[in-house]
C-alpha cells in the first residue's frame, strides 16, 4: 500500500503533471479571489481542455483548480467584506473588522495557514477513511441530513447573543427567502410574482453579496473614508497570523474535522461548512464576546473548515461516484472523460488514481497558501485605498458578479433590492448573518424533511442517527444556558467568599 502511495507522489512530481498542478492552483486562486469568476463556472470553462489530457495531468490540473478556491476567496472577504465564494461568507464577520482595525495581514496570514492545515487534514482523512467509508456514508440517510440542517439552524439562536429575537427572525426570513421559486415536490410557484426570473429561486451569491458586500460599500462611501480605521498596517502581522494558527491548533483541528464531515455528507457543501465551524468556535471558545469584532479565531474557524471540506467531498465523489456539489459533478464528468471510473470500482481497480488525487490535494493546498502569502503584503494595501477608488471598482465587480448568477438584468435589479434590505438591517441593528445562514440551510431543511417522510413515513424520527444528532442539537441549545448559570454560580460563590 505504502509503495503505491509513494509511487503516486513520484509520478505527480514529474515536470508535466506538476506544471499542470501549478497552473490549476494559480487559476483556482485567481478564480476564488474574483467574485463570480471561480467555482463551477470556471470549471465548466476549463473542462473541455482538461478532458483532452492524460489522466494524471487531468487529476493534477482539476484538483488544483477545484480545491483552492476557498483559499483565494479569503482576500475579498477580509479586505472588502465581499464573500468571494459561498465558502467564505462567515470569514467576513471577523475578517473585515480585523481589516478595519489595520490587522488585514494578520487575518489573511492566519487564514492561509489554517487553510493549508485544514486542506492537508482533509486529505489525510480522505486517505485514512477509505476502508471504512462505505459503512459511514450508508449510515447517513435523509433523516440524519435533515437533523444536520436543523443543527445548523439551531446555531442561529446560539450565535445571536445581544439580539436573539432579531437573529432568529432574520434566520426565519432567510429560510423563507430560500423558498422562492418552483417547489420541486408539488410544482407550486412560490412567491414568484409572475416573474419567470424567480422560478429558479434566488441565487445564494446574490443574497450574500447584497446582505454583506454592498451595504459595507454604501457605509464606506457614506463616511467617505477607507476600510482601515488606522493609519498604518502592523509590520508583524504576517508572523502573528502564523503564530495565531498554531496557538489555536485545537480549534483548527476541531473545525477541520467539522469541515471534513460536512464535505463527506453529500448535499451540505462548503456554504454550510464555514457557518458550522464559525458557530462551533463561537460557542466553545473562552471569551467569545470578541467574536464579530475582529477576533482572529473567527477567521481561523471558517477557513480551517472550508478547505478541509474538499477532502471529505472528494471522498464521496471518488468512493461512491456521488457528487456533493456542482463542482464535484463536473469533476466526475472530466474523470470519466479521461477514462477513469469514479465509484466503488476506483477503490479496487484504480486505487493509484486515488493516491494521486490525495497527493494533488495536499500539494495544491501548500502551493495555494504559498501563492496567497506572497500576495498578502500588496493585497492588504487595498484597505488604505480611498473610497473614491475602492467603492466604484468593488461595486462594478459586485454588479458583474451578481449578473453572473443567471446572466440576466433581473439579477442586477434583485441585488439592488436585497442590498437596500441589507443596508436597512445594518443601520437598524438587525444581525445580517442569520439571514444568509437561514437561506443556505432553508432549501436543504425542506428537501430532507420531505425525503425522510416519503421514505420512512414518521418512523424516521426513531432512527439512531436522528436521535444522536437530536441530542447534539439539544446540547447546542442548552450549552449557553448552562455556561451562563455556571458563571452566575461562580460569581455568587466568589461574592460569598
Amino acid at each position: 500500500m505504502f509503495e503505491g502511495v509513494f509511487e503516486a507522489l513520484v509520478a505527480l512530481c514529474s515536470p508535466v503533471p506538476l506544471g499542470f498542478l501549478v497552473l490549476g492552483v494559480v487559476l483556482g486562486v485567481w478564480g476564488g479571489a474574483l467574485p463570480g469568476v471561480g467555482g463551477p463556472a470556471q470549471l465548466a470553462v476549463l473542462l473541455p481542455f482538461a478532458m483532452l489530457m492524460e489522466p494524471i495531468n487531468c487529476i493534477a490540473f482539476l484538483i488544483g483548480v477545484t480545491t483552492v478556491g476557498n483559499t483565494g476567496n479569503t482576500f475579498t472577504s477580509v479586505l472588502v467584506a465581499v464573500p468571494g465564494g459561498s465558502g467564505s461568507q462567515a470569514t467576513v464577520l471577523d475578517g473585515y473588522p480585523m481589516a478595519q482595525k489595520g490587522e488585514a495581514r494578520r487575518a489573511l496570514s492566519a487564514a492561509f495557514m489554517v487553510s493549508m492545515l485544514g486542506g492537508i487534514f482533509g486529505a489525510f482523512v480522505l486517505f485514512a477513511s477509505l476502508p471504512v467509508m462505505k459503512i459511514i456514508v450508508r449510515a447517513f440517510g435523509s433523516p440524519e441530513l435533515f437533523m444536520f440542517t436543523i443543527w445548523g439552524l439551531s446555531m442561529i439562536g446560539v450565535l445571536s447573543t445581544g439580539a436573539p429575537l432579531k437573529g432568529l427572525t432574520a434566520g426565519v426570513l432567510g429560510v423563507l427567502l430560500s423558498t422562492v421559486g418552483q417547489d420541486v415536490k408539488s410544482g407550486v410557484m412560490r412567491f414568484d410574482f409572475d416573474q419567470p426570473y424567480l422560478w429558479e429561486g434566488i441565487s445564494v451569491v446574490l443574497v450574500s453579496l447584497s446582505i454583506f458586500a454592498i451595504p459595507e460599500m454604501i457605509a464606506l462611501a457614506a463616511r467617505k473614508s477607507r476600510v482601515a480605521e488606522v493609519s498604518e498596517l502592523g509590520e508583524s502581522g504576517m508572523m502573528q497570523g502564523i503564530r495565531d494558527a498554531f496557538h489555536h491548533w485545537w480549534l483548527v483541528i476541531r473545525c477541520s474535522a467539522i469541515g471534513c464531515w460536512v464535505g463527506i455528507l453529500p448535499g451540505l457543501g462548503s456554504d454550510v461548512a464555514d457557518w458550522f465551524a464559525y458557530a462551533h468556535a463561537r460557542q466553545t471558545v473562552k471569551n467569545p464576546e470578541t467574536f464579530g469584532k475582529g477576533d482572529v479565531r473567527g477567521v481561523i474557524a471558517p477557513e480551517s473548515s472550508n478547505n478541509a471540506k474538499e477532502g471529505g467531498a472528494l471522498l464521496t465523489t471518488l468512493a461512491f461516484g456521488i457528487p456533493g456539489s456542482t463542482s464535484m459533478a463536473l469533476l466526475i464528468i472530466a474523470f470519466v472523460g479521461v477514462g477513469m471510473n469514479p465509484g466503488p470500482d476506483m477503490l479496487t481497480g484504480e486505487i493509484h488514481y486515488i493516491y494521486m488525487i490525495i497527493w494533488a490535494l495536499v500539494l495544491s493546498q501548500i502551493l495555494a497558501s504559498v501563492i496567497c502569502w506572497a500576495m498578502v503584503k500588496p493585497a492588504a494595501k487595498v484597505c488604505f485605498l480611498p473610497f473614491y477608488a475602492l467603492v466604484p471598482i468593488i461595486l462594478a465587480l459586485t454588479i458583474l458578479s451578481a449578473f453572473s448568477a443567471h446572466f440576466s438584468m433581473m439579477d442586477i435589479i434583485a441585488v439592488l433590492v436585497l442590498s437596500a434590505f441589507g443596508y436597512i438591517m445594518k443601520v437598524t441593528g438587525w444581525p445580517r448573518a442569520p439571514i444568509v445562514l437561514g437561506f443556505v440551510l432553508g432549501q436543504k431543511v425542506e428537501l430532507y424533511l420531505w425525503l425522510s417522510i416519503a421514505r420512512y413515513d414518521m418512523n424516521w424520527i426513531t432512527r439512531p442517527g436522528v436521535l444522536i444528532i437530536g441530542a447534539i442539537v439539544a446540547a447546542t441549545l442548552a450549552w449557553p444556558l448552562w455556561s451562563t448559570l455556571k458563571q452566575k454560580r461562580l460569581a455568587a460563590a466568589r461574592g460569598a467568599a
Binding site: V45, V92, L93, Q100, L159, S160, T161, G162, A163, L165, K166, G167, L168, T169, V172, L173, L176, K185, S186, V188, E216, I218, A219, A221, A222, R223, E229, E289, F291, G292, K293, Y388, A389, V391, P392, I393, L395, A396, L397, I399, L400, F403, S404, F407, S408, M409, I412, L416, I424, M425, V427, T428, W430, P431, R432, A433, P434, G442, E446, L449
Partner: protein
C-alpha cells in the same frame, strides 16, 4: 410604562408585515408546499412582534447594549446629516448605474461608472481612465472572451456597439 416609537421600529413593523403576508399567501397553496412557510413564518411573526414590543415598551428602561455578536461593527460615527447625504448620494450613483445598463449596455456602463465616480471627486483623468480600462479589460477578457457571456440588450448596443462587443 413609557411608549417610545422610533424610526427604526418601522423596519420591524415592515418585517412583521412581510412575514404575515408570506403566511397568508402560502396558506392558499397545498400543504406540502406551504407547511414550512406557515410554521416558520408564523414563528417569525411572533418573534418580530415580541421584538417590537420590547423595543417600544421597554426602551426607556433598557441599558444600552453592545452590538449583536453576529454583526459587523459599525464605524459610522460621523455627522448624521453628512452620513445621510452620503448614503443618498451613493444610492443615486447605483440607481444611475442600473438605469444606464439598458441604455448603453453593461460592458460600457461599468467602466463609465468607475470613471465618472472617480472624476466626480476631482481625481485625475489618467488614473480614472486606467481604473476604468482595467474594468473594461476584465469584462471583455474574462466574461466576453473566456466565459462567452451574452450581455443584456441595450439601446446603444443595438445601434452600433454590437460590432465592438460581438453580441
Amino acid at each position: 410604562m413609557r411608549i417610545q416609537f422610533r424610526m427604526s421600529d418601522l423596519f420591524t413593523v415592515f418585517i412583521i408585515g412581510l412575514l404575515v403576508t408570506a403566511v397568508a399567501v402560502a396558506s392558499q397553496w397545498i400543504l406540502r408546499a406551504s407547511i414550512i412557510i406557515i410554521v416558520l413564518g408564523g414563528i417569525g411573526a411572533v418573534l418580530a412582534t415580541a421584538q417590537l414590543l420590547v423595543d417600544v415598551l421597554g426602551r426607556a428602561e433598557v441599558k444600552p447594549k453592545a452590538a449583536p455578536a453576529y454583526e459587523l461593527p459599525s464605524y459610522d460615527d460621523g455627522n448624521a446629516r453628512e452620513i445621510f447625504w452620503g448614503v443618498a448620494e451613493i444610492w443615486g450613483w447605483m440607481l444611475a448605474l442600473v438605469l444606464s445598463i439598458p441604455l448603453i449596455g453593461l460592458p460600457v456602463a461599468l467602466p463609465l461608472f468607475v470613471l465618472a465616480y472617480f472624476r466626480f471627486y476631482g481625481k485625475s483623468w489618467l488614473t480614472g481612465l486606467v481604473l476604468a480600462g482595467l474594468i473594461a479589460v476584465f469584462i471583455i477578457g474574462v466574461y466576453q472572451q473566456i466565459m462567452h457571456v451574452y450581455w443584456p440588450d441595450s439601446v446603444l448596443g443595438d445601434l452600433f456597439l454590437d460590432e465592438l462587443f460581438g453580441n
